[in-house]
């Protein structure tokens, strides 16, 4: 199957590969998998807890070129967005940007799921500093 130039670019030069310590302040981790192909994707965001802006993002994906490209692109898009803006990223945006063929759409779904999981993890851990402080005190 022919990959688009953008997929090949992300595959050869993946952006933001790596990870943050899971418990570091402002870090949210999403770990998801695709049962059809056995791909595993970990995506992390590092949020400035004061401003709610995503300052950095990392990913590690073990899967096909499209899955790697989807998560690489996702980390690029996440940086600089607020947590609320990030929640609006849709898998179709990724499909359009990377020109993924129909058989690879599930890779973009995986990336969207990973973003959502990371955001949910962040909100659960650091969502409201006050709430977190209150929870810690109780």
């Amino acid at each position: 199957m022919a990959y688009s130039d953008k997929v090949i670019d992300h595959y050869n030069n993946p952006r933001n590969v790596g990870s943050f310590p899971k418990e570091a302040p402002g870090v949210g981790t999403g770990l998801v998998g695709a049962p059809e192909c056995g791909d595993v994707m970990k995506l992390q965001i590092k949020v400035n807890v004061d401003t709610g802006v995503i300052e950095d993002a990392r990913f590690k994906t073990f899967g096909c070129g499209s899955a790697i490209a989807s998560s690489s692109l996702a980390t690029e898009w996440l940086k600089g967005k607020s947590v609320d803006e990030a929640a609006k990223i849709k898998n179709t945006d990724i499909v359009n940007e990377l020109k993924l063929p129909p058989v690879k759409i599930h890779c973009s779904v995986l990336a969207e799921d990973a973003i959502k999981a990371a955001l949910a993890d962040y909100r659960g851990k650091w969502g409201k500093k006050e709430a977190a402080a209150g929870a810690a005190a109780s």
């Binding site: 770990l31 998998g33 049962p35 073990f62």
Partner: protein, 244 residues
């Protein structure tokens, strides 16, 4: 053995008329009037191809016998002097019979196929992988990445080989579980005791359980293949489904 008849209750349609002489073929694969081969579209699914009930426990010898039987009858070599239409039909039928046989003789592929049949256009929700399994797969992959970066010394090689054996054993256990659920499925399909609403519930539950097991198996297979690649072995020897 005689040609498998189609199941009862199959509605007659235009497709049941011979494409050549327009006479009623009644589910036969060769027209009773003009003896022309009939297209594979008379079959509704792979089980139907071999005249077998839609169940997960199959008599593999019977399946093979019927496969050979069809292969002989539809073999394109037999149609070399026939009309282009008949040649095309025999080719199409042979291809379908081959695919159907390959799918049904493999217990895993058989389950995957049955799930597709049962769910039809209304796909169920894909199973969520257990998070601890994903974490474990990620750890194995990360260790593997580290091993790949350096030369594969004897110690690393042994560690990866052991890891692969452990995961292969787990995959085997999952396949055992799948067989157990398959038997439960067949029992449900055969039985008629439970009320229909309970049956629908149970059907859904069993399908979901089968999908869950297939998902876990897919993750394990991916990692096992990656380990084989790293060990410089042909992963094909480790992905082949166990044949029964």
């Amino acid at each position: 053995m005689t040609e498998a008849k189609r199941g009862e209750g199959v509605t007659r349609s235009a497709r049941d008329l011979c494409w050549n002489c327009q006479s009623e073929v009644g589910g036969e694969y060769f027209c009773p009037q003009c003896v022309k081969v009939q297209p594979a579209s008379v079959w509704s699914d792979y089980f139907d191809v071999f005249g077998l009930p839609r169940k997960l426990g199959l008599d593999l010898e019977e399946l093979q016998r019927r496969f050979y039987d069809w292969s002989r009858k539809f073999h394109p070599d037999l149609f070399q002097r026939a009309t282009p239409e008949e040649q095309a039909i025999s080719l199409e039928n042979s291809a379908l019979v081959n695919t159907a046989y390959r799918t049904l003789r493999d217990p895993i592929a058989r389950v995957e196929y049955l799930i597709g049949l049962e769910e039809g256009a209304v796909k169920g929700i894909p199973p969520k992988a257990p998070l601890d399994l994903l974490e474990e797969m990620l750890l194995v992959q990360e260790a593997l990445e580290g091993a790949k970066a350096s030369a594969l010394d004897a110690q690393t090689q042994k560690r990866l080989t052991d890891e692969r054996a452990r995961l292969a054993e787990r995959r085997r256990a999952e396949e055992e579980r799948l067989l157990d659920v398959s038997r439960e499925w067949d029992a449900l399909v055969e039985g008629s005791s439970a009320a229909s609403r309970d049956r629908d519930d149970l059907r859904r539950k069993l399908l979901d359980r089968m999908k869950g097991i297939l998902a876990v198996r897919a993750y394990l297979t991916t990692v096992i293949n990656d380990l084989s690649d790293a060990l410089g072995e042909d992963s094909q020897t480790h992905v082949s489904h166990r044949r029964h």
